[in-house]
Each structure stands twice: as structure tokens, then as C-alpha cells.
């Protein structure tokens, strides 16, 4: 029941949410996370952000993450949509949805999916600044820590 997509077009969150629960009466809650392009990076104004991925491997990684979340949190459905190409401040980058009979599984599944998506799915961001310069975004250690907390819980 996982919906996995990499796309250049905008993400219609309402439509994706409706698709998850359409025709079903067994879902109790759907948790979601939407990531947006911020207008500044380390205080510097951004003109645009360009996202690149590894066609084939990226979708495989996303499917693997969705399957792991579905098993672990007994999700009834999940959706992972990630945009690529040139995006501007305020635009949606990513959508994660997790559906479950009760809210805690949906909330935990959603947090798990976005943590892993940020640390394990092959996407790379380049920021173009208002001053004409551009730079690839460095991986953040806090993201690896956020994802690793799930592993330690799994072992415990």
C-alpha cells in the first residue's frame, strides 16, 4: 500500500491524503510531514534550490524505507513523494504520509519515514543564492542522529 514518487511538478497534499483514505473506513489517523524550501540558508537569501536524484536507486531506496516503516509500525498505507529539479522558496520539497488505525503508530511512522528519507534516500540539494553564488548543501550530522535513534530503539 505504499505510494512512491519522484516528480518535478508540485505536490497536491489534499489529493494525496484523499487517495490514501479513499473508499476505506479502517484508517483512524493519517500523520503527514511536508518539507518546504526556506528563503534563507545560514542567514543568506536563497534564489532557488535544485534537487538531483539517482533514477532507479532513489525509488528503490524509498520503497525499502516505506516497506520497513509499514512492517515496523503496522501502517495501513504510506506515501513518499519527493520533488526534483529547480524549486523556489516557499515551495514544497517532500511529502510523507503514514496511515494507521491509531494515532501513535501514524505519528511514529511519519517521523521514521522523514528521518530516514533525509539520511538514506539518494537526493542532493544545491542552493543558488541571491548574490549569484551557489553551493551544494552539506549533510547534517543532526540528520544522521535523528535517523539513528530509530535503530537503537529497534535493538532495545
Amino acid at each position: 500500500m505504499a505510494c512512491i514518487r519522484v516528480q518535478t511538478r508540485d505536490i497536491d497534499v489534499g489529493a494525496e491524503l484523499a487517495a490514501v483514505s479513499a473508499g476505506r473506513t479502517d484508517i483512524g489517523g493519517v500523520a503527514s510531514f511536508v518539507g518546504l524550501v526556506r528563503g534563507t540558508a545560514a542567514g543568506r537569501p536563497i534564489l532557488s534550490m535544485t534537487l538531483e536524484h539517482y533514477p532507479g536507486m532513489t525509488e528503490r531506496a524509498m520503497t525499502g524505507i516505506a516497506d520497513a516503516a509499514t512492517r515496523r509500525f503496522q501502517l495501513q498505507a504510506c506515501t513518499l513523494i519527493h520533488r526534483v529539479g529547480e524549486l523556489h522558496p516557499g515551495e514544497t520539497i517532500v511529502l510523507v504520509l503514514a496511515a494507521a488505525p491509531h494515532r501513535q503508530a501514524a505519528l511514529d511512522g511519519c517521523a521514521f519515514l522523514i528521518d530516514w528519507l533525509k539520511t538514506s534516500a539518494p537526493f542532493w540539494k544545491k542552493e543558488a543564492f541571491l548574490d549569484g553564488t551557489s553551493a551544494w548543501v552539506d549533510a547534517r550530522e543532526t540528520d544522521d542522529l535523528a535517523a539513528s535513534k530509530w535503530s537503537s530503539i529497534e535493538i532495545a
Partner: protein, 83 residues
Amino acid sequence: MKILYFAWLRERVGTGEEDVTLPDGISTLAGLIAWLRTRSPGHEAAFAAGKLVRAAVNQDFATPDAHVANGDEVAFFPPVTGG
């Protein structure tokens, strides 16, 4: 074998994809990297980043001791920054 480069590795190498024939005697990812570095100053600049280079063999994340052979698809890229 097909070699892919992403993000700043692609920019430094100067191409996103190249087809190479693995020289005799090279059978690991580490060996492949050592050989690729000799192909151009751009390759050298890309792989000089050392610990910041990640790799995948046939679309699975791979470590330097991973086995590689002609026919494989090998990709190099920085740590991921999506989401």
C-alpha cells in the same frame, strides 16, 4: 562497466556518466577508485574529497571492499541531503 557521478562529483569529473572497461587485477570498489583517480585531474579532484564520497554498486550502497566486475553499474556521490 557503467560509472555514474552525482552532485559535486559530477561537476568535478565533468560528466554524469562514463563507460569504462575494468583493467585486469581490479576487483574491489577501492581498486576501482584508485584507478579512476588517474584518468583526469577532474577525477582526481572528485575523489580527493575522500571520506565525503559515497558509492553504490548496482544501486545498493557499497563499502570500499565491495566486489566489482565489468557489467556492474557503479555510482559515486556525496552524503545525501534530501527531504
